[in-house]
């Protein structure tokens, strides 16, 4: 099995995620795109772990999943509270953090 297929797939997924973060306004969609990027990275890690025959990459991937789960919890809570105060989930409406 050729490694490059997995890597290309991971790159495509990562790019889709990154573009999604940059162009979408809905906070939930932006959040999902971040998850997509994380998982693209996970795929890369697993691929290399498989190709080198070590378990380091797999362990790091598991770590990433745990951290991502925690991050989802915190992130969704923030989005919920923003929505409650502003009646909007658009990231462009939450623009107070500036000069």
């Amino acid at each position: 099995m050729n490694l490059s297929y997995y890597l290309v797939l991971a790159a495509i997924l990562f790019t889709i995620g990154a573009v999604g973060v940059l162009v979408r306004r809905n906070a939930i969609v932006v959040f999902m795109c971040i998850e997509l990027m994380l998982n693209a990275v996970n795929l890369t890690l697993i691929t290399f772990a498989r190709s080198t025959g070590t378990v380091d990459g797999q362990i790091i991937a598991l770590f990433v999943m745990v951290v991502a789960a925690a991050e989802v919890v915190v992130g969704l809570a923030i989005i919920m509270s923003i929505y409650r105060t502003r009646r909007s989930a658009s990231v462009d409406d939450a623009n107070l953090l500036k000069y």
Partner: protein, 631 residues
Amino acid sequence: MPAEGLLAASWLLIALPLAGAAVLLLGGRRTDRWGHLLGTATVVAAFLLAVACTVQLAGLDGRAADVELFTFIATGELDVTAGLLYDPLSAVFVLLITGVGSLIHVFSIGYMAHDPARRRFFAYLNLFVAAMLLLVLGNSFVALYVGWEGVGLASYLLIAFWYTRPAAATAAKKAFIMNRIGDVGLALAIFVMFAQLGTTSYAGVFGSVGTLAGGTITAIGLLLLLGACGKSGQFPLQAWLPDAMEGPTPVSALIHAATMVTAGVYLIARSAPIYDLTPTARAVILAVGAVTLLIGAIAGCAFDDIKKVLAYSTVSQIGYMFLAVGLGPAGYVAGLAHLLAHGFFKAGLFLGAGSVMHAMDDSVDMRRFGGLAKKLPITFVTFGLGYLALIGFPFLSGYFTKDAIIEAALDRGDVWGWVLGGVAVLGAGLTAFYMTRLMLMTFFGRPRWDDGVHPHEAPTVMTAPMIVLAVGSVAAGALLVSVFPLADWLAPVFGEPAEAAHVVAPALVGLVVTVVMVLGVLTAWLFVGRREVPVTAPVRVSPVTRAARNALYADTVNESLFMRPGQWLTRALVWFDNRGVDGAVNGLAAGLGGSSSRLGRAQTGFVRTYALGMLGGVVMVAGALLAVTAG
């Protein structure tokens, strides 16, 4: 030698008036009722003590007494002990200060009777007497300096006694600033002494001054002279003294005629061992004295303000004293004798002027006096005796002392001796002119009083001191020459009087001076006495009169040379401070603020912009890593 007996208590001379001043100033209104009596009592007590001390001093071998008091400054190499030196020279001054001071305190009781701030006046007078006694009694230049500044402060406070009058406040400021210029000279001289000799005591300095280079000695001499010129109102610092007449008249009599302004003469006489080594500085003293005596005499001829005429007369007479002490050993005694005689007759003249002002509702304009001889007989007689003493009427005090100065000048024997003697004789003629003019305008002729002025003789408390001073004016000269010869008394300080080889016979000098004096009196009679005195000063006058009325443009010169450039400099510095220094600091701050707010615009608040920035950053880092590892 260390002092014993009463002399050991001579610090009381200073402490008594100082305590009086402290009680009067700290006691406040509670002391209003008896403050003037306490102030007078302390000075009279000091006078009695001074007489007793001087009697004891006369019996001592070597006639000098050191009184060690306490360590004033002891740091590293500088060691100043506060101590007093009671020797013939300081004794002469102490007697003059406390004696004339007592009389003027008594006079002030009457003169200031209706002034609500009489207590404050006596407190300042006591402060002055204490500082002046410290000045003449101190045994080091530092002690002298402390007294020097003390009398300057008292002079400032007393000139500005009626501080609500703008003229008095300005005059006080002027006196203080011009004195400060002189004080800088004195302070620098003390610094040089300390740096070069490591001591400031009279004994230490005079003992080792001979080891210095000639230039250093001359520098010390000239710096001391600058200090003396400031305090004594000598050229080029003479302009403050006439303005100081804004103070109450007893102040003019005590401080600005009899005592404080002669401190410069004291300083130069005391520093005789320094000036013995520097003929250059002596020549400068002679020039200062000669120039000042003419300036004062010329300006005195033109003023209509009775106190200003007397003030310029003081300037001129102190010029005589400077001329005398500038002559060296030949002139010290003559200068100090003139100083003592002048202390009597000028204090008497000022008190007389005060009595006239008292009678004329505080007017000082001689053009509005006239015919006061009948109304104020005691004032007229005492003032007249002072006048005769001042112009050098034969066998009154001014005759002996002024002639001695002229003789000492001529005895130099060279051409400068003739020049200085000639200047002094000319000054005597001018003195006779302006004083006769003053007498004629004040006491003779038709009354030119303002409506509602009813002249009346002053109370006894004022006339008694005037009578005592008038007697002193008449007798002082003869006493100092023959009965108690000042030359013998001062011999321990200035050495035994040498029998001078006279270039011109003293009798001839006396005759010439008397003739010149009579000419001055007659000229004054021709100009003033013969015809009616106009009530307003004539406007169309010769340039000479105009120059004299402006005191030879001394104020104009000071203002254009020093005051205005100073103001320009200040304005330029303020401008530079506002625009230059503040501009640089404010500009830097504004620049930083502006650029930071411009940079701040990059912070849009849009999460997606920040994300793009992070992505760009990551791409750049990744690209750089790839370039490094691949390349």
